[in-house]
């Protein structure tokens, strides 16, 4: 019966290392939050908590799509550019074409899904690496967004019609709507991943695409669908961002790619695919926001902020390396 003995022991060891790799950043997060609570007057206030959550919403929502793609073992570098282009399209449709907000929203999300479809078809059909493909589409989309705006800020009263997406507070006027939307989408993503066939297929393909294919799974379809989902979520993120800043510009998502991907990786999703918890991505997205938030509350100057936030990230990310080194 020594098989079981070895299994148990190895399993225990693996589990501990996995927990450190997947959840270790939460410990760092908790320490950071504790530090901020003790050293600032306003960190642990409801007001600030909702400020942080609202700030995390757009990145958090787009990170869901990135999470799916990373689970498949791919990387989507075009999410931020999709967000930008779709934000611009949304604003343009409403301001310049006078589309009703709902119609503009549906068209915009449709464009996002279409971008995902194109990404997916190139990657699966032509067997081109996802990094190269999405780097290419990202540059095309970024160029389109700039061309669409000719460098100008798109703004207009029509955009006020969707500002509720950013400003509305629900549940006795307490919780900001974007925060509720983010949590609902994460719950949906969790259910899709853990309780649906599509989710099971994503994990299978991410772990071992060939074995999944031999098991009768249409691996290309799974990939294309995941890219479409990611594209749709990026587009929705773009709409949320337009609602948030009340304007759209051709560079509005330019700084989003890094935090989006960092949230997923920091949340412990393995870059080689098949492993990752979507709620960890949510927590990581919130963590990332508290880093800058906390630094402002602490009154650090901007350069110190960069050094400290880089340091915190390196420590949190190195926990994942611990896992890859030991397993």
């Amino acid at each position: 019966m020594s098989i079981l003995a070895l299994d148990n022991r190895q399993d225990l060891q693996r589990r501990v290392i996995n927990i450190v790799g997947e959840q270790g950043f939460i410990v760092i997060f908790a320490l950071w939050a504790l530090y901020l609570t003790l050293n600032t007057d306003n960190f642990a206030t409801t007001n600030n908590a909702f400020t942080v959550l609202r700030q995390a919403a757009v990145i958090g929502i787009v990170a869901i799509g990135a999470h799916f793609i990373i689970l498949l073992g791919d990387i989507d570098l075009s999410s931020a550019a999709t967000l930008t282009l779709c934000g611009v399209i949304m604003a343009k449709l409403m301001v310049q074409e006078d589309y009703a907000p709902l119609l503009a929203g549906i068209v915009t999300i449709g464009v996002g899904v279409l971008i995902g479809l194109i990404n997916g078809l190139i990657i699966t059909g032509m067997k081109i690496n996802s990094i190269i493909t999405t780097l290419g589409t990202s540059s095309v989309l970024g160029g389109l967004a700039l061309r669409q705006t000719s460098g100008k800020t798109i703004a207009g009263d029509q955009i006020d019609a969707i500002e509720f997406l950013s400003r509305e507070r629900l549940l006795n006027n307490n919780i900001p709507l974007p925060v509720i939307i983010m949590f609902v989408l994460y719950l949906a993503a969790f259910i899709i991943l853990r309780r649906t066939r599509f989710g099971a297929h994503v994990f299978a393909v991410g772990n071992n695409a060939r074995a999944a294919w031999l098991s009768g799974i249409n691996t290309n379809l799974v990939k294309v669908m995941a890219y479409m989902l990611a594209g749709g979520l990026s587009a929705f993120g773009g709409i949320m961002q337009v609602a948030r800043q009340g304007t759209a510009t051709g560079t509005m998502g330019g700084d989003f790619l890094f935090p989006i991907l960092t949230a997923v990786v920091l949340g412990g999703a393995s870059l080689s695919g098949g492993r990752g918890k979507v709620f960890n991505t949510l927590i990581a997205a919130i963590f990332l926001t508290t880093i800058t938030n906390g630094m402002v509350l602490l009154g650090y100057d901007i350069n110190t902020q960069r050094i400290v936030s880089g340091g915190i990230l390196i420590v949190a990310l190195s926990l994942d390396r611990v896992r890859t080194l030991l397993l």
């Binding site: 019966m1 020594s2 098989i3 079981l4 003995a5 070895l6 299994d7 148990n8 022991r9 190895q10 399993d11 225990l12 693996r14 309780r195 649906t196 066939r197 599509f198 099971a200 297929h201 994990f203 299978a204 772990n207 071992n208 060939r210 074995a211 999944a212 294919w213 031999l214 098991s215 009768g216 799974i217 249409n218 098949g274 492993r275």
Partner: protein, 508 residues
């Protein structure tokens, strides 16, 4: 006096005893085989001897002195080397840098390349491997050559005891022969070798004495001439050999045809293959490696693109692809179990249900209760040894992984199984269970295409045998009247002018 004496060695992992008071002796200069099923305690024993683990109780003497290594370095200092299945070599460095790593001769910090080259060359020459030059980059060597480098490194370290753990598992026949020559040379130099292997043929070829472990206990230690193949297997599995191959379902030449393959060709690897498979039949495909038997299995499952040919399942045309196959109740057990047969990172339960997720879901949502139930049934039916069905497959032993792969196949309720090398690298006990599985399935009216390199298995299980050579079927034989020799002769392509070849288009 014995060189290595192990006395009453015990080791317990969390409540389970892996070694139960094992005692035996190894003579100086002997090649001593250590055999047993997976879980018999071999790996624990090796780990203790190489310093990777410590025993709970018991004593070890080496060369008359107590030997209790606390870590691998202690073992190396006591001139004990372990050669693992996976090599610890630096692929980008040269042979001499690898062999002398950590003890490079130098003059004031500058490497003495001349001495390094000489030392390396001297050892390689002693192993009759002077075709390997000290400057060669290790990454470019073949597997067998890398193994020689590992051994040479051990020899350079003055090893008195070399532990070889499944050294031939990744080698081809030529490389195995070269390894055995090396072992003979080591023996001449008085090196004692503890040789662990599943391949009993090899053991009879090179071992001087043999120890069998089973379930953590010592069963026997005998000189090789006192051991027969049968007695050895009986020691290992603890039961009589006569029951290795279960009785097969009676052959019925009139049974319904479930699969017909006509003139199937794949590029340059398969040429005009034609055969049929009947209900309740085990049809074996034999052939040497490179004969096309693996490709045939892959082509039937859609893993290779057909260039010509027609396949029908129960009279209906079939174009191979995994999902169409599964839909038509044809399933394939891939040859590479670890890479293709199971998904290592997924739990056992999900692996088993992976091909039938549709059946356990409504409107795309999985019914996890149904999944557990289905997986539980399969785990029980195939006696998969695991504490929990949520365990990742990667935590299971090879034999149990293969059972998970089989359970996954079984879950789709197939009518036809294509089993590719189903018992490769699996210890004897599980092998028997897989044989029983095949017999059970055919008794229940299912059909099996058994693609195997093991002739005893083919003779013990199948009704008919197709023999392949250079991408063609060169013979179709009735198992009840054929012999290993006959199959081998066809497989070697020695006798092509035979009468009972069905598709003898070769001669046209």
């Amino acid at each position: 006096m014995s060189f290595l004496r192990i006395e009453n060695l015990s080791k317990t992992y969390i409540a389970v005893q892996a070694l139960k008071g094992v005692s035996f002796e190894v003579q100086r200069g002997h090649t001593h085989a250590l055999v047993g099923e997976n879980g018999a305690g071999k790996s624990t024993l090796i780990k203790i001897l190489s310093g990777a683990e410590r025993a709970d109780s018991g004593r070890i003497w080496m060369d008359g002195k107590p030997y209790h290594p606390h870590n691998p370095k202690d073992a190396l200092d006591a001139n004990v080397s372990t050669i693992y299945q996976i090599f610890n070599l630096m692929p980008d460095r040269s042979i001499m840098h690898n062999m002398l790593v950590g003890k490079e001769p130098h003059r004031g910090g500058v490497l003495d390349i001349q001495t390094m080259r000489q030392e390396t060359h001297r050892v390689l020459e002693a192993l009759n491997a002077s075709h390997l030059k000290p400057e060669m980059t290790v990454g470019l060597l073949k597997v067998g050559e890398k193994q020689i480098i590992e051994i040479a490194k051990a020899l350079l370290n003055q090893s008195q005891l070399m532990i070889m753990d499944e050294p031939t598992s990744a080698l081809n026949q030529t490389e195995v022969d070269a390894l055995f020559k090396t072992i003979a040379l080591l023996k001449e130099r008085g090196v004692t070798i503890l040789y662990v292997s599943h391949r009993l043929e090899e053991i009879f070829q090179i071992a001087d004495s043999i120890t069998v472990l089973r379930d953590g206990t010592h069963i026997s230690t005998r000189p090789i001439h006192e051991v027969t193949r049968d007695s050895l297997v009986e020691d290992m599995i603890g039961r009589k050999l006569s029951s290795v191959f279960p009785p097969r379902a009676p052959s019925n030449p009139d049974a319904e045809e479930v699969m017909r393959v006509e003139n199937l060709s794949v590029g340059r690897v398969l040429h005009t293959i034609s055969f049929n498979l009947r209900k309740g039949e085990v049809l074996a495909v034999a052939g040497l490696s490179g004969s096309g038997k693996t490709e045939l299995g892959k082509a039937l499952y859609g893993d290779l693109r057909l260039s010509a040919g027609k396949i029908t399942l129960k009279g209906q045309p079939y174009r191979p692809s995994p999902w169409k196959a599964i839909h038509r109740q044809l399933i394939c057990l891939p040859e590479d179990r670890k890479a293709d047969g199971v998904i290592q990172g997924l739990p056992i339960r999900r692996n088993i249900t992976l091909s039938v997720l549709k059946q356990i879901s409504t409107a795309g949502f999985l019914n996890l209760k149904k999944e557990r139930q289905l997986a539980g049934e399969q785990i029980q039916a195939l006696e998969i040894k695991t504490p929990h069905m949520d365990q990742e497959v990667s935590n299971l032993s090879g034999g149990n992984q293969q059972k998970v792969a089989l359970a996954k196949c079984l879950a789709v309720h197939p009518e036809i199984f294509i089993l590719m090398e189903p018992t490769q690298g699996i210890d004897v006990g599980v092998k028997f269970e897989i044989y029983q599985f095949i017999a059970d399935q055919t008794t229940q009216g299912r059909s099996v295409l058994l693609i195997s390199s093991e002739l005893p298995e083919i003779l013990g299980l199948s009704h008919r045998v197709l023999v392949m050579h250079e991408g063609r079927i060169v013979a179709e034989l009735d198992t009840s009247t054929t012999t290993q020799e006959e199959i081998l002769r066809y497989a070697l392509g020695e006798e092509l002018t035979i009468t009972d070849v069905r598709s003898n288009k070769i001669h046209e």
